[in-house]
């Protein structure tokens, strides 16, 4: 009995191990990870851990006690380097190949490297080590240039401002988080950064980064220059799938898997988290999601399907991400996009809360919610239950009414 081998002590990997046990799996469970670090969670790395407010202990994905009591074995500092699908063997850099009955690929992703070079003082942010290094450069009065106004860049800008670091936020697109925002909603977030003293340079790219720590010069595509003490490059991530190149698995910017999270054309091999590219039968093109909640939900599906191969479950999940920036909790459900119609409720600068509902031909596609938890729940349920946009808008209207009545009492 070889049991289940999980590659990656990511949230997807650790949650798969825990879900296997809570679903009654009695085989051996081994988690293999290239990092020496005890498994840690990543959302805080751009927020409370980066600021120094939360500590290493609070990032643990599982305690040592729980791992021991659930009989989950961890092989840390052990890098997966290949897979022999026919022999059911995982090849690693430290010891003889590891036999498995079921294999879970949860190797996640890594930060896209800086195309302008990465001398000391030019950072990316993905790992605990990255966060420690960036934290050391966030001293009050220092100047940080943030390249890329996606979720990571926007969160680091917020954390750095709270530490009294001067921040210039640069992105070639016209507003932050532009993959998921329309111009109107994107404008909320541009104004949010500006209101907190960030210098924004949207609509211009970076041509080069010269100099060294304490004295960087970023040349921008409009001919201007930004000077900074350090730089964060937050331009997305890439899946860790190269180790599978010779395995015969289908790889295309992620490991291709079906709706049961099984690697395509294989038996006993599952994929969860950022490394998974899900072939979506309903929406057509395949998607690779880089969301914490998706990783956790895929972990659950994978565990169920390992324990109940005769009653395999389809991975069905409403996409959901959150971001904490300044005093805003930003929550995105479903799949908003810049090319959809949108209805907004409230104004984050007036009422301190707002929601934008994204619609295509009457069909509900997604929602962006700021500081409004009740609406967030309604939106997630509405998307899961395939309500029309009108039904959700009516529901939000009625919440707004009931709130205003309460406040008059």
């Amino acid at each position: 009995m070889s049991g289940t081998v999980i590659v990656g002590a990511s949230v997807a990997g650790v949650r798969t191990a825990q879900a296997l046990r809570s679903q009654g799996y009695s085989g051996a469970i081994t988690i293999v990870d290239a990092e020496e670090e005890w498994p840690y969670d990543k959302p805080a790395l751009s927020k409370s851990f980066l600021s120094g407010q939360s500590h290493r202990d609070s990032l643990e994905l599982i305690s040592k006690t729980e791992a021991a009591s659930l009989e989950i074995e961890l092989l840390l500092g052990t890098r997966a380097i290949g897979l022999d699908v026919a022999e059911k063997l995982l090849e690693v850099d430290r010891c003889v190949p590891i036999a498995y009955d079921s294999l879970v690929i949860a190797t996640g992703g890594r930060a896209r490297p800086s195309p302008w070079g990465q001398p000391e003082g030019v950072h990316v942010l993905r790992t605990l080590d990255d966060a420690r290094k960036l934290h050391n450069d966030l001293s009050p009065g220092a100047h940080l240039a943030v390249v890329g106004a996606g979720f990571i860049g926007a969160e680091v800008a917020s954390t750095a401002r709270a530490a009294n670091v001067e921040v210039t936020l640069i992105d070639p697109l016209p507003y932050p988080m532009s993959r998921v925002m329309t111009p109107e909603v994107g404008d909320w977030f541009s104004r949010l950064h500006e209101a907190h003293g960030v210098t924004t340079r949207f609509g211009v790219g970076v041509e080069s980064i010269d100099g060294g720590r304490g004295n960087f010069a970023l040349k921008l595509t409009d001919g201007t220059e930004v000077r900074s003490d350090s730089v964060l490059v937050g331009i997305g991530s890439m899946p860790n799938d190269e180790w599978l190149t010779d395995s015969g698995l289908l790889i295309d910017n992620g490991v291709l898997c079906d709706e049961f999270c099984r690697a395509i054309q294989t038996e006993g091999i599952y994929v969860a988290g950022d490394a998974a590219r899900l072939m979506d039968q309903q929406t057509g093109p395949s998607v690779r999601l880089e969301h914490w909640t998706n990783a956790v939900e895929q972990a659950k599906t994978v565990a169920h399907n390992i324990v109940n191969p005769g009653d395999a479950q389809i991975h069905q999940s409403v996409e959901y991400v959150w971001s904490d920036q300044y005093d805003w909790r930003i929550q995105v459900a479903g799949r908003p996009s810049h090319d959809l119609d949108q209805v907004t409720h409230g104004d984050p600068f007036v009422q301190g809360r707002a929601a934008a509902i994204f619609v295509k031909g009457g069909a509900l596609r997604g929602a962006v919610v700021v500081n409004w938890p009740r609406v967030l729940i309604e939106a997630r349920k509405a998307i899961a239950r395939k309500w029309t946009a009108q039904e959700l808008n009516d529901r939000i209207e009625s919440l707004t009414q009931s709130v205003s009545i309460t406040s008059k009492d």
């Binding site: 949650r15 809570s22 959901y320 929550q331």
Partner: protein, 66 residues
């Protein structure tokens, strides 16, 4: 034996993953704090509620032996 659902209300940030995982056990109030709709979790519901608790991004929920 039935278990008890427990919440750390200070830690809760209103992410709502628990509600999506088990809306018969968890809800959020208007301030976005978790509300336990039932604290006793019978064995038959345990895997589902345990997974909903583990889907909390800030580990504000857990099950305890009662």
């Amino acid at each position: 034996m039935a278990k008890q659902a427990k919440a750390d209300y200070e830690a809760c940030q209103g992410y709502a993953n628990c509600v999506m995982g088990a809306e018969d056990y968890f809800d959020l109030d208007d301030d976005g704090k978790v509300v336990l709709l039932a604290s006793e979790v019978p064995e038959s519901d345990e895997p589902r509620v345990a997974e909903a608790a583990r889907s909390c991004p800030v580990s504000a929920l857990w099950l305890e032996d009662s």
